[in-house]
Each structure stands twice: as C-alpha cells, then as structure tokens.
Amino acid sequence: MADKFEPRITGFVCKWCTSAGADLAGTSRKTYPPNMTPIMFFCSGRVDPQHILHAFRSGADGVFIGGCHPGDCHYQEGNYKTMKRIPMVKKLMRDMGIEEDRLRLEWVSASEGDKFTKVITQFVEQIRGMGPLKLPAKQRKVS
Amino acid sequence: MREFTYYPGCALFTKAKNLDQCARMSAEILDVRLKEMTTWNCCGAIFSTVSDDLASQVGPIRNLARASSQGDSLVTLCAACYNVLKRSQAWITKPGNETTRDRFLNFIEEEKFDPNLKVLHLLEVMKNDIGFEAVKTKVKKNLKGLKLGSYYGCLMVRPEAEMQFDSVDNPMMMDDLMAALGAQPVYFPFKTECCGGYLLVNDQEASLKCAATIINSLNAAGAEAVVTTCPLCQYNVDNQQKILSERVAGFKKLPVFYFTQLLALGLGIEGDVLNLDGHYVDPKPLLKAKGLLS
C-alpha cells in the first residue's frame, strides 16, 4: 500500500510580516499541514535565488517565500527586490525542467494569520497534487 | 445595429404589452435590436414561494441555458424576471453547485450553459451600452421639466449582494434616463420600498397601505407623475388609487407610467403602442397640459 506522498517544503519567511502572521495563526490555534519548515530571515529581500535552487537540489518539492505587502516592507524596499527576483528564478526553473508553480511568493502581513493558514494549506495540497520533484540523482545533493 | 438577446416574460405579452413594444421600438431608434429568444418559458417569478428547490429553479435555468446559445447576455425589462433570472444565474454558478447544475441541465435536456452569461436590465443597457448622452441626441419631444418620481420597487435592487444593480436606497439610473429625456427627477425617500404587490390578493389592506405611502410621499415631494419598470408595481400603484381616492377626501391622483412609455414618447413614437388608455389614472390630461400630446 503506497504511502500518501508528503511534500517537503522549505519556507523563507520574513521576521516582521510573514513570520509574525504565522505566529498569529499559532496564537489563534489555526491548523495547517506541517510540511513547510520555516526559516526566518529579517527580510524577504535576503532570499538569494541560489538559496531557492539549493532547496530544490537538497530535496524540497516546493519553496515558499513570504514577505510584507508591497509598500509595507520594514526595510523599505526589500520585498520589491524579491518581487523582481522571483520571475527571473521561475524562468531559470523552467529551463531546468522544474515546474514554476513549485515556487510560491506570497505577501502575508503580521495581522493575516488566516491568510497564512489558507496559503500554506493550499500550497501543500497543490504540491501534493503535482507529485515529488524528480531531479536526476546527480543534480541532487541529498545525503 | 447592436443586438441583444431579449427575454420579454409573460406579463409583457399580456397586461404590460406597451412596456414591451415601447421598449422594442425605442431600442430600434437608438440603434439596438432587442432580439427575442427563439423559445422561452415563464421565468418562474413566484419561485420564492415554492419550497421545492428543483421545481422553483427549473423555469429560470432553462431560460438561461437557452440564452447561452444565443448570445453572451440576456436583457429583460420586467423587474420580477430580472430579479429571478439574475439570482438563479448567481445560484447555479456558485462554486460547489456544479453537480446540481448538471442535474438540472440533464433534466431540462439542455447541453450548453454559459456560467458567464450576463443578465441585464434594459436600464443597464441604456446606461452602459447606449449611453444617456446618445439618448439625449435622439429626443424629439422633450419632456419639458415634467416632475417625475422614479419608483424602482424592491425587486430591482434587493438582495444587494446578488442584484448589484444600483444604490439600494437611492438608485439613480431611471432618474438619469428621465433627465436625459428632459424630465425633472424628483427625490422621494420610498424609491425602493415595497409596493405591496404580492399582497394584493391575500391582504389587500396591507398592500393599500404600501401604495398609499408611496403616493403620499410622491405628492409631498411635488411629483406630477410616477415612472416605473415593474408590471406588478405599475398595476398596484396605479389601480389602487381608485380605492384610495374613494377613501381619502382630496386625494391627489398620480399617473403611473412605464419608463419605456415615456422613452418612446420622448423619442417621437405616437399612437396605440403607448396604450395611454390602459391606465386607471388617466395620464392624457397631464401630457396634454405639458404639450406632449396633441
């Protein structure tokens, strides 16, 4: 009996908005699938495209990036940079044979515990439907 | 010549013939053809009183399905038909109702159904597609400041979330159209209050009260006539003035027009099609006094 595929998702969440929104989801006792492991940065602008690709190489089936709404970045413009980088990364992903939809960028503010819950739940189910990322063994860096 | 798929509804073929025919003729002058659906049935206007969901929705949904293959929108004139068709469309296209919809389509033996079909009232077409400015240019008989109260009734605007027609308490679409014809719209606070039409048979006293409130308010606001779009409202507010005038001394009667009658009149259409003799409160003296009728 095949086990249900459990997606593995790396999450880069910004401290001021998305992580705070995730904390609010926790204090409000919402529930969402545990498949995303959050890594907190000060700002979504810290997310380098190489981190995203490294995540896929290391076994992630999906990568989630959460930042402040445009105009609200605690560091002024970090999220605008993220906004510009992600389409570029998606192009790279396409060329490498990784489906674009495995990378998801969302703006979640500190008061949007509900939105965080909905978005993670939906993303996990979406990745589950897409199945595991099939990279050739030599491209993977999994131990 | 722009064409719109047109759903007249039963009342417009019987009691409200002039509402229908004035509309068609006026539309032609404004370069719009109201193309009647090749085959249609009663909209099921009493659907809200039936407890069986399937039975109450079959009528409107069959019309919507058939309209799907005839255009991307469906224009209607009767406020009741508009309300029923629009709400049925919203209900059957709600996410989660797909299986119900397929059940219906199977039952009525229709295959095509356009979830994006737009149900429109002729007033919306006049505002958005034709434009009131364009209407102004075609006016042959200016209504010369005729003081008109635009009575919309309840079905056009409620429930607000589903109808999204205009402001719920102070809609202006019909007022603006009448202004384009040269009339002077008069504000009164009962534009969308119930006329009591549905209670005509069961509880006439209640419906008289509703009609009286509306007429009294219009008189207090200085209106010379009322203009409406719903056959039931027109019948109720017009005919009940007989009893009201018998009961109240000095009751000032107000003629109740369909907006398409005045539209037709303004665009230069004359004759039997207006059916000015079909009213209880005779509008001819007022129109003659204004020089709008020879």
Binding site: T10, T37, Y75, G78, S143 | N170, P189
Partner: protein, 656 residues
C-alpha cells in the same frame, strides 16, 4: 568548527509537550553533529528554567545554545540575557519556534514531533555557523517629536518636556486642541471640555521645552531610532506670527466666507480666521482659497487695519528640519462619513447631524450659543432621536468594530438635550449600551432616570416628511416596528483614523491595521510602542478610545520616550552586512540596493594594492540583507546569516 552546541527543549506546560513528543525529540537531537548536550524543561522562561540553561552552558562549556520554545518575539531577549550572564555571547543563542509555528498548529502528534525536529535542526545548523557579535553603540538625540496636537499629543508633549527633554509638537491645524476643543461637556463628570483642556493647551504653548509648530505637517522622515531627521512643512498663514499679537482687528471686516471646519459646517467663518476664540497659538491664518485678495487682488482690508502690519500676502510655505530621537504618533480620529448610508439620508436630509455637530450646538461658544436649535430653521426641536452604532458594528455596510465612546456620549447628548429643553423627548435607538469606565454605568442610569427613552433596535430608514424627520426602527424587546416623527436626528458615527494619517503612515513607514489605525507592537503588552523602534503611539489614532484612555496612553508613550532617552547610547543590532575586502570587486551593486545608504564605494589599499572596495557605515545598516543577496561575488556577507549558513539550514530543514 568543533562547536559544542546545547539544545534545550521547553515543554511550555502542555502547550508544546501536549502535542510534540519531547522524549523522541531529545533522542533525535542528541545524535546531531555538534550537539554536546540536550535538556528539556517545563518552563524555560521561568527562573529555574533560565538557571538550568545558565548552568548547562557553564558545565558543558557550550559554545552555542538553541532553545526550542515559543516565538522569538517573546523570549529571544530573555534567553540571550541569560547566556550573556554566564559569559556566552548572546548572539550565539538561537530560538527554534516549535510552539506558534508547530505545536499550536499541528494537531497530529507524530507530524508535530517531526516538524519540531526539523525546525530544531535548522536552528542547530544556524548555531554551528554563528559568530559572537557585539552590539554597535549609537548616539541618541534626546529630543522628541509629537505628531498631532489633540489632548493625547499635548499630554505626551507635556510629560516628555517636564522630564527635561525638548519636544517639537507638530499640528496640521492652526491651533492645537483637536476634537476635544470642539466638545461641550465631557462624560461622566459633565466637565466643560474647553475648561479642562485650555489650561493644558496654554501650558504646552508656554512650556520652555516645547516647540509648537502648528499649521504644519510632517513631510519627510529619514534615519532610525535615536537619530531621526524630520522635514516639517510649514503652511503659509500669510501672517507673520512673530509680529501678530492676536488682537483680531483683521477678522472684523473680511469679506470671504466658508463653512467653518470647527463648527462642522454649521456656521461660516471668514477667509482670515482663528479656528476658535481660545485657539493656541492665538494667531489667525488666511485661507487663500476663499480670500478675495488672492482671487482678484482687489482687497487688502486685513492688511490695512492691522495695527502691527503683520499681514504678509507674499509668505510662502517653508520647511524646517528637526533632529529627534523619538516620534510619538497622536493623530487622533475623524468621524466616519456616512454619505453612502443612503438609508440614513445623510447629506440629503436636513436636521440629520453627527455627534460632533451636536456638540457644537450644545457648546456655549457654538453656532447657536448653546441653545438647542435645529440647523434647518433654527426651531427648538421637541423630539430628538439619537441613533447609536451609525456605521459601527456593521460588517456589510460600515465598520465591523465598536467605536467605544458612542454609548457614553449619546447618553450625555440625550441628557444635556433634556437639561436644556425641559419638555423635549429624547429617544435613543441602541443595540447594546457599553459603559465600561469608572462612573460610566452610573452615568447611563442617570440618563434613563432623567427620562431618556432607550429603544433596543436598529434604525432602517430616516427621511424627511414636511417639517419632520421620520425614523423607522425596531423595538426588538417587544418585537414591533417603530416609527418616530422627530424634529432632529443625531447619529453616533463610527470613529475612523484621520484621512491625513494615511499619508503620514507612508512618510513614516509606520504600520497600520486593516482599518487604518496605527498598529501597536503587541495588542496586550505593548500598547504604546510600534514595531518600528523609536515610534510610539498615543490616542485615538491607534484605535477608538475616550479622553481618559487617550491621556493615559499618552503618558505611557511619554514614559517610553523618556526611557529611551535615559540611555547614554542606544545599542544597534549587530547582524549587519559586512564586507570581505578581498573578495569585493568594487562593482557597487550593493550601494544602490541598500535602502539606508549604509554602503559606499571608496578607494583603499587592500593588501598592498589600491582598489575600489565597499565601506560600510555600521550605524546605518539595518540588517535587512538585501546587499547580501545582490552581491555577485559573495563579498557582502550578513553576519550570522551567511549564504553557506543558509544552505546548511535549508538542508537541515529537509531531512526526515
């Protein structure tokens, strides 16, 4: 690096341990490379818990500690202080959030346990790379700015000034005082509002440490806590306030007319005007939009009659730059515009007014000299309907929240109306009557005792019928429709933030909630701070509240400012982005990418060769990391968040 890392897992009572299987976590974490010791504790943040961490650090000679517990926003500083006290650099202590982002959101125990392990793994990976960091000392400008001159702003300014620090009080209107100056009496004491406010206004005006900038707005803010540079736009009053002595001669014959903002449109003011007689500063301004001189050049009555020749038609807007260390945001409120509530006939129906307009009618210095007369014809209304919750508690058409003060001020209005019109009928339509403050319930009872009629039900329609204003409502307690023919209707409109606060929030980059009120740092525990260091909140700009609460919050904000200023220096977070001069290629990409201007390109001798490299201003760097992700040669590493560190964290998070 052969770091000895200690991991402490907190049970947090049953908050974590009730879901996450702690023994399994300990078993797995024990085996991770670099982990020298693992412990668990019921409540790590407690004194015994902290002592356990301190002892473990000492006894196991730990190089880094990971505490797996609640969100870092709660106790990161607690645990960092704890390890610091036993000699471990606080930046070598990391938090793994296994509560808010794990145990509280994952009902399945096995899945929660696995997720907790993954989260701890990432933080252990992080700790392996962490370096000790020292906070950067930053000088503090011990001057404060208060934006908004209502009662909250005035109170905050007075408290900070009385502690010995200079305050710049910026107010957009010509006078301070805000909405409280418009009120007639205040609940629950029925004190005359201006009588209790004007002493404070005068105190603020005369205080040697308060610099009053009225008729001014904040145009630009740069810098960071302790070191803000604020550009204030001073609108042209067309009168030299240094020369003017407030005699008022200019006001007498001015021909210009406009609805008075202070009287909420119920009277007219002139082009040269003082908002109200007790204005502070007591100096008039000229409204160029209706001034005949500015429109046609053919009037100079005010200039001609002024005995001190203080009129200056050529005055221009000017800018002042203020250096301050903290900013208190006290922008206050405005009433919700009910123009879209067509069922209430607002704007269309005469004699349907809002609470502030009624205050002006009640006020002795108002348009009717304190006599209750209705706006349309000046008649004394014999029956007044008061509608509570006009736009509040209305999810569909208005604001979902409760505006807090309306129940109290409606009771006050109804009572004051009856005091002045002895044979008048006061009818209040309500959903609930909320009287939570001291003396409030007694005040409401007094209103009902004095004959104010309370009808429980909402109002569905208000319209004019001849001389009367007809109100349709419901009496839910008897289950009946109610129709009242009133002479006047007073609506209790919802409280909203001011329209100008939206632009101010953008200039300050201050966070606001979904209704536009300024966001406090924590709704329960940090009500006067914001998440931006150096910005504090006071008054209704943060949320609906009454005068006692606004004043209390203002003093609280002032206290935080004073606390900030009591430090010799401020300590600036050290995880800044440095520069590896060897690797730096001098491309300058990071210079443009930095929003704080913390990086610049300079010529420098690096290992015997002159080359273009980056110089970092550590005080300006805010640790966002934008440069680190932009650098093409990885020369600009963010301390304790390097690329290789992140990569190992990513890998750790995907295992298991």
């Amino acid at each position: 690096m052969n770091k000895r890392i200690g991991v402490v897992v907190c049970h947090c009572g049953i908050n974590i341990a009730g879901v996450v299987k702690i023994p399994e976590v300990l078993e797995t974490i024990k085996t991770l490379p670099g982990v020298a010791a693992v412990r668990d504790h019921m409540y790590c943040c407690s004194d015994p818990g902290q002592n356990m961490i301190k002892d473990l650090t000492k006894s196991e000679k730990l190089d880094a500690v990971v505490v797996a517990c609640c969100s870092p926003t709660l106790h990161e500083s607690t645990f960092r202080k704890a390890v610091k006290s036993v000699g471990l650099n606080p930046y070598l202590c990391e938090i793994a959030n296994i509560r808010e982002q794990c145990s509280w959101v994952t009902p399945d125990r096995d899945e929660a346990t696995k997720k907790a392990i993954r989260i701890i793994r990432t933080q252990v990976a992080r700790a392996r790379w962490d370096q000790p960091l020292e906070p950067i000392d930053v000088p503090v400008t011990r001057r404060a700015m208060v934006v908004g001159g209502g009662v909250a702003g005035i109170q905050a300014a007075l408290d900070i000034a009385n502690a010995g620090y200079e305050v710049v009080l910026v107010e957009k209107d010509p006078s301070i005082g805000g909405h409280m100056a418009q009120l007639s009496e205040t609940f629950p004491t029925l004190d005359c509002s201006q009588c209790i406010l004007t002493p404070k206004m005068v105190e603020a005006y005369q205080h040697p440490k308060i610099k009053l900038l009225t008729y001014s707005e904040v145009a630009d803010v740069s810098g960071y806590v302790g070191n803000f540079k604020v550009k204030v736009r001073r609108k042209p009053a067309y009168i030299d306030w240094d020369v003017c002595n407030g005699c008022g001669q200019c006001l007498v014959k001015c021909p210009g007319r406009k609805e008075s903002e202070f009287d909420r449109g119920m009277s007219k003011r002139k082009a040269v005007y003082r908002p109200f007689p007790q204005a502070v500063p007591n100096r008039p301004v000229i409204d160029a939009s209706i001034c005949v001189h500015f429109k046609t050049g053919r009037c100079s009555i005010c200039a001609d009659v002024c005995p001190l020749k203080a009129i200056r038609y050529d005055q221009k807007e000017s800018f002042v730059e203020e250096s301050v260390g903290a900013i208190v945001i006290a922008t206050g409120f405005e009433l919700y515009d009910l123009k879209d509530y067509s069922s209430f006939g607002v704007g269309k129906t005469q004699d349907v007014i809002d609470g502030l307009q009624f205050e002006r009618i009640l006020s002795a210095s108002g348009p009717t000299s304190g006599e209750v007369k209705r706006p349309s014809d000046g008649k004394v209304p014999k029956r007044v309907v008061f509608v509570q919750c006009a736009g509040s508690r209305d999810v569909e058409n208005g604001k979902p929240y409760c505006s807090k003060i309306c129940c109290m001020y409606t009771a006050k209005h109804a009572m004051l109306y009856k005091h002045r019109v002895h044979d008048g009928d006061a009818i209040v339509f309500y959903i609930d009557v909320r009287t939570g403050g001291k003396g409030f319930e007694e005040f409401y009872k007094r209103a009902t005792d004095e004959g104010v009629l309370y009808v429980r039900g909402k109002v569905s329609k208000i319209y004019r019928q001849g001389d009367k204003v007809v109100v349709w409502g419901a009496d839910t307690l008897t289950g009946q429709k109610v129709q009242v023919e009133a002479d006047m209707v007073v609506l209790a409109n919802a409280m909203t933030p001011t329209p100008e606060s939206a632009e101010l929030a953008g200039v300050l980059k201050a966070q606001r909630d979904e209704h536009g009120f300024f966001n406090e740092a924590h709704p329960k525990l940090r009500p006067v701070e914001t998440l931006t260091a150096g910005y504090f909140l006071a008054g209704a700009g943060q949320g609906p509240k009454d005068i006692p609460e606004a004043v209390a919050q203002a003093s609280g904000a002032a206290c935080k400012v004073i606390g900030l200023f009591s430090n010799k220096t401020l300590s600036h977070d050290p995880p800044i982005a440095g520069i590896d001069e060897d690797a730096c290629s001098g491309c300058g990409v990071c210079v443009d990418v930095c929003p704080y201007g913390a990086r610049e390109l300079v010529e420098k001798d690096v290992k015997g060769k002159m080359k273009k490299v980056i110089k970092v201003n550590e005080v300006l760097c805010e640790c966002c990391g934008a440069c680190s992700s932009a650098c093409p040669v990885a020369a600009c590493e963010q301390r304790n968040l390097k690329d290789e560190q992140i990569q190992e964290m990513v890998e750790a998070g995907l295992e298991g």
